[in-house]
């Protein structure tokens, strides 16, 4: 930009006048200020007409601050004017000496901000009317940014699409205008700069290239973050630092040809057009994650990406099962796109490349039916799995301070697979494009015929414009349609996002712990009041304590459900598993899911995933017959596996139901006898026969497949469920199918328990261990040796366990007939434990033992009883094994 001294001198003269005015003006008078502002505006006009843009911008800035000061800090106005005019003099002086200073205005702004007491980072605050407008703006801007992203994506494919460029320019420009009006200056700065760039592109002053696209994507990403920050809290939003990206953009404006200003890693991939050569060079690049922030960014990226992958997978399965659905494709696209964006920012090259290639594939997938294209589907699943793998490695790296111990995963095979699928598809698409031109509706309804296809191909030949097929593809993509649906969906998801917050599990646990304490303490307070008889004397007090108690219990109930999440992800994982198994074998399967919104403690979800996997595999492999067999038995060719979840009496029930051949009782019995688990003479009811399959190494499968048959799975499943204090049951009808019924507690932290008194202290026996309580009678008890007794209950004999014998707990009551026998179930069989008295039954919150007490034999944990004392939870299995060992000596 050539600046003529003449113009600068002219403007300096104008500034002199303005400076004079500024001294005379009475800043306490409203009319005088308006007058002064008018003169200031005239100066801006002069600067613009003389093409001294930065002076105009600086002046506008001063005026802006002046207005803000007028509203919030009138006493600072004089200072603002003084400082601002000085700045303008400086700028003009630099112009005459031909000094370029792009940072000058930023510096000026910081100075002006300081005067207003806004601190270095341009801490800002909004006026009441601006605050009012903010929520509306956030919603609007969200939609706008989504559209900007769309436009950039299309631009990436076609650098010369003027429509997209214009539309981008419009969006940035509008955003800049709105934000400057609302006083969100950081936002406005960035969008202004972006608008400037777009303006240059529009006027062909600079050519669009891959670097520019990545810059624009960067800008959009920052805008998104900024918007999110604004939505979270106005203060963080206004304090959000955009100077880095603004600087980057400004640099670009000054020297658009320089290559070095961008991180070279960040732009290498995005310049690739989707048509790039398939045989690309690829070397895996182990990421060097920046962990200087304690890995927070990386951790967030990983968890977010996992969520994205999950939703992509979910949408993919919808597509596969239900056919075409724009919504679902958009969802997949968004998922990959979001991951790509952040991966780009974090310099995770491999993830970025993979997501980028997958995106290309998704674009192509929009034109064909995914349902009828298993290859395509497979490619998506492959990509999702590979990304998961990369994320896992990244996580490991983050945990080990950036060191990767496992072997790095080479995505080359995946990439070339995706590319080859994309290539096939592209060839296909060329044929199908014409179909769309004839009638998209026909195609969607699958009513199009072979002859029509031929016609369309002929027509394409007639038009003869083979060069522009790429362009035709873009044009026929119904751009406005997808944009619209995306925008609409954006709004929908927005409302969901508003209703949830992310919270660290630690904080949640803290809250739950404290509420537990609150319940106990309030119980004690109420009890003390009762003891002092205050409650009966003061009715109001009695009512208040009653209310207090009720509210606190309410809070406790709510707090328990805070950690609950629906079983949906778990079920979808199973659905995916069945899908993969189906693809591997010849068996085709319908999966029916019921009650996926049923909620359960998230810890349990994590722990139940493995057992459920084994059960589903089992149903798939052993339950469901081969297709031919099914047909010959008069069953539908498609197998059916149902996953059902529901709540029942304070438990979560999960059913895995198949319509296969059912369990073969004879085979099980035979095998059990062979393994020596049963004697020939043992008679078992159906339930116990079925339960044999939970024995380790038990399998009736004739051959071991890679899916199942080793007899390990069910054993693992049973043990894991036991660990969760759950129960598993099997129902089966030969020829009709098998149902596994898993019963789980809703949460790990609470158990139903019987409080018993033994000696000085109260102990807790988990209710699921208790079979019944009995009154011991001498006539029922037989001594085998000293302190070794058996008791006869309902005709069966059980060992009697004296706790004072196997541990140093001592009883209060010494006579056996005064004591109570508690018949318990354990891994080591049933036994009768003697206790002094039953105190009651209640739910108890399990507490960890602090210090070094984690390994106590006979004690599995502790709880706080209603009197505030610690109650120990008896580990029934441990006690019985201790007693057996004692007796064995």
């Amino acid at each position: 930009m050539e600046i003529h001294n003449k113009e600068v001198r002219f403007l300096t003269g104008k500034l002199d006048k303005l400076a004079e005015e500024s001294i005379i003006v009475d800043l306490s008078s409203e009319t005088e200020i308006i007058d002064f502002e008018g003169k200031f505006n005239a100066f801006i006009e002069d600067a613009l007409s003389n093409n001294i843009k930065d002076a105009a911008e600086a002046a506008r800035l001063v005026l802006e601050f002046l207005k803000i000061a007028k509203d919030i800090l009138p006493e600072k106005m004089e200072e603002i004017v003084f400082c601002g005019i000085n700045q303008l003099y400086n700028i003009l002086k630099n112009k005459t000496s031909n000094l370029q200073s792009p940072l000058e205005i930023e510096k000026n702004k910081t100075e002006l901000n300081k005067i207003l007491g806004r601190g270095e980072k341009g801490k800002n605050y909004l006026l009441p009317f601006q605050l009012e407008e903010l929520p509306g703006f956030i919603v609007d801007a969200d939609v706008r940014i989504a559209e900007i992203e769309d436009n950039i994506q299309y631009l990436e494919k076609d650098f010369n699409n003027e429509e997209n460029i214009k539309s981008l320019y419009r969006h940035f420009h509008t955003l800049a205008g709105e934000t400057s009006f609302l006083g969100i200056l950081n936002f406005s700065r960035l969008t202004q700069k972006a608008g400037d760039i777009l303006n240059k592109i529009k006027n062909k002053e600079i050519g669009l290239n891959g670097q520019l696209i990545s810059l624009l994507l960067d800008i959009t990403r920052v805008l998104r973050e900024l918007l999110k920050a604004l939505a979270d809290s106005v203060d963080t939003g206004l304090g959000y630092d955009v100077s880095a990206i603004v600087q980057k953009t400004a640099d670009f404006l000054v020297q658009p040809d320089a290559d070095s200003f961008l991180d070279p890693r960040a732009n290498s991939g995005s310049q690739e057009t989707p048509n790039s050569d398939i045989k690309m060079e690829f070397t895996p690049r182990i990421p060097q994650p920046d962990l200087s922030d304690g890995g927070e960014l990386i951790a967030e990226f990983i968890s977010e990406s996992q969520e994205h992958l999950y939703s992509a997978e979910e949408a993919l399965m919808i597509l596969e099962n239900q056919g075409d659905n724009d919504e679902a494709i958009n969802k997949i696209f968004r998922a990959f796109h979001s991951i790509k964006g952040i991966a780009l920012f974090l310099g995770l090259e491999d993830i970025k490349t993979l997501t980028h290639e997958t995106e290309t594939l998704i674009e192509l997938a929009r034109k064909v039916s995914i349902k009828t294209n298993p290859e395509l589907c497979e490619a998506f699943f492959l990509s999702i799995d590979s990304l998961r793998k990369l994320l896992q490695l990244l996580q490991e790296q983050a945990k080990n301070n950036g060191v990767l111990k496992s072997e790095y995963y080479n995505i080359f095979a995946v990439l070339s697979r995706i590319k080859s699928v994309a290539d096939d598809l592209k060839n296909n698409c060329l044929k199908k494009t014409q179909e769309k031109k004839i009638g998209e509706i026909l195609l969607e309804n699958d009513t199009i015929t072979e002859s029509e296809l031929k016609d369309s191909l002929e027509k394409q030949r007639e038009s003869g414009d083979t060069k522009k097929i790429g362009e035709i593809l873009v044009e026929t993509k119904a751009v406005t349609q997808t944009q619209l649906s995306r925008a609409l969906e954006e709004q929908q998801t927005k409302s969901i996002v508003d209703e949830t917050v992310k919270i660290s599990v630690r904080k949640l646990d803290d809250i739950i712990n404290n509420i537990g304490e609150l319940v106990i303490v309030s119980g004690q307070v109420c009890q003390s009041l009762n003891v002092l008889n205050l409650n009966s004397k003061d009715i109001k007090l009695a009512k208040n304590t009653n209310d207090l108690d009720k509210i606190i219990r309410n809070i406790q109930n709510i707090s328990m459900t805070l950690r609950f999440i629906p079983v949906r992800p778990l079920f979808h994982k199973m659905q995916r598993l069945i899908r993969d198994l189906s693809a591997k074998t010849e068996k085709q399967m319908h999966v029916v899911i019921t009650g996926e919104e049923t909620e359960i403690d998230r810890n349990i979800i994590e722990l139940i995933s493995d057992p459920l996997t084994h059960m589903v595999r089992n149903s798939f492999d052993h339950g469901i017959e081969e297709k031919e067999v099914r047909v010959s038995r008069g069953k539908p060719a498609f197998g059916r596996i149902e996953l059902i979840a529901y709540h029942k009496s304070g438990n979560l029930i999960i059913e895995v139901k198949d319509d296969g051949q059912g369990l073969n009782k004879e085979k099980i019995l035979q095998k059990a006898r062979m393994l020596g688990l049963l004697k020939e003479t043992d008679a078992l009811d159906d339930k116990n026969i079925y339960n044999m399959i939970f024995h380790p190494g038990f399998s009736t499968a004739e051959k071991v497949t890679d899916i199942s048959g080793r007899g390990v799975g069910m054993d693992v499943a049973k043990r894991n469920i036991d660990k969760l204090r759950g129960k598993i049951e099997i129902n089966s009808k030969p020829g009709e199918g098998t149902i596994f019924i898993i019963k789980l507690p809703l949460t790990l932290g609470i158990i139903d328990a019987t409080v018993v008194s033994i000696g000085r202290d109260n102990y807790i026996i988990p209710l699921f261990s208790v079979v019944e309580f009995v009154q011991p009678r001498f006539k029922n008890i037989t001594s085998i040796s000293e302190k070794k007794e058996v008791i006869k209950i309902h005709g069966e004999l059980f060992p009697v366990i004296h706790l004072d014998n196997c541990s140093n707990i001592s009883y209060k009551k010494l006579k056996l007939e005064e004591q109570i026998g508690c018949l318990v179930d354990s891994d080591y069989g049933r036994a009768c434990i003697l206790i002094d008295a039953i105190v009651g039954q209640q739910q108890v919150v399990i507490k960890r033992l602090e210090g070094n007490l984690g390994y106590l034999k006979g004690i599995s944990g502790a709880t706080i009883l209603s009197d505030g004392k610690v109650g120990l939870i008896l580990d029934i299995d441990g006690i019985i094994s201790l007693a057996h060992k004692k007796n064995a000596r």
Binding site: L849, E850, G851, Y855, L856, G858, V870
Partner: protein
Amino acid sequence: MTNKNMDQFDSLAALAKEGKYLTFALRNEEYGLEILKVREIIGLMEITAIPNVPAYVRGVINLRGKVIPVIDLRLKFNLKEVDYTNETCVIVLNVNDLIMGIIVDRVCEVLDIAQQSIEPSPNFGANMRNDFIIGMGKIGDKVKILLNIERILTEDASAMREVPATE
């Protein structure tokens, strides 16, 4: 237990560092604990006994919702057992992220002990253990025994794990 912790023991075993110490009494002797290890001091509360642990592990208490073990330091040091009085206190310690309580006869004061007043623990002869002691603090004409509380409490960790197993 990592090497780092072992190193810490060794350096502590060498000699106590100057700084603030909480002093308490067992019988007539006064002992000192590094104040940074002390989480809080509470009065004696009801203790729930735990089966199958050494006698000096008195049991567990409810410290505002946390279940923490308490050790009777008298029993740990093989001193005579006495009835608890109004002065008996539980000092709650946070050692290597383990929260534990120790029962002492009474808590005395917080003292600033300078490096020059700390002397290495005397050698009692080959058969005597002195690794619980990291120094003797001379305050006026009195001597405070400075304890290596990590060593004392971590020893309990293994003791508690072993006892039930050998029962």
